[in-house]
Symmetry: C2
Subunit: 157 residues, 2 copies
């Protein structure tokens, strides 16, 4: 990333962003989830520069989100496939889509959705309390101070 990475942030959120937090990366994952696999495929989906795309794909492969697979050899050609680990970013993508749908200050696009394989029903994310099993709105959820402020911060005013 940059000189200052999120690494020193002992936090799972920062760790995830270290992998997918760079510009374009989550849109690449979005398109990969939608079935795009090839270099030129991503190029036509996204207004990204080829050198940057190259860099992002390499990074995603290194982090195990995508894998580079040869799909022909007479000129050797490769494609990028989502790994299981990559597919598990689905909730992140759905949560981003849900927020965008709700708060589209700009012309709200068509609802972006995912569907249940087989069943065909629309899938969405929700927050659930492990204890009472209730489905919760954001107003009923608070972050535990725990991982919050990264450094062992003193009392503070």
């Amino acid at each position: 990333m940059l000189r200052r990475t999120y690494d020193d942030q002992v936090c799972s959120i920062a760790r995830t962003l270290e992998v997918v937090g760079e510009r374009w990366t989550l849109l690449i994952v979005r398109d990969a989830l939608a079935g795009v696999t090839r270099f030129d495929g991503f190029l036509t989906c996204l207004p990204i520069a080829r050198n940057v795309l190259s860099d992002r794909l390499t990074g995603l492969v290194e982090h195990g989100v995508l894998e580079r697979v040869q799909y022909q050899d007479r000129p050797p050609r490769h494609e990028y496939r989502l790994t299981a680990r990559g597919r598990e970013l689905t909730p992140v993508i759905l949560a981003l889509a849900a927020w965008g749908n709700r708060h589209g200050s700009t012309p709200t696009g068509p609802t972006d959705v995912a569907e249940h394989v087989g069943c065909g029903g629309t899938v969405h994310t929700q927050m659930v309390c492990e204890c009472c099993e209730e489905q919760l709105p954001a107003s009923k959820v608070v972050r535990r101070p725990a991982g919050a402020a990264t450094p062992p911060r003193p009392a503070e005013r």
Copy 2:
């Protein structure tokens, strides 16, 4: 953002990233959710440069994620409070945290969590099928091709 924004991407994911996709922004939201409100508060939580923090906070206020509220006037001082809209980013943060916990290639930090106000139970996100109500793993979910390849972009180049 940059010269090339995500704007032409008619997609709710891209729209969300237009608001929170810049470097540091999601970590600022993370800390805001954890109760940080002041300029210097964010500075002590995050290894971010002050000019960049200033820029991000301004952007988040413009997008209605935070609001700038005066909390004293004898030297006028302001703090940044999450709006309802900002609090609704909780599922995004939780989804990022969940992935980071699961795939922490690096020393897995303590589980980052949120709790149910009142009940005190741990809250997590899950994907649910609207039709059959089942809770689904990523392997059972596919993105509908719909929003996939964004622009009706002609061949180009």
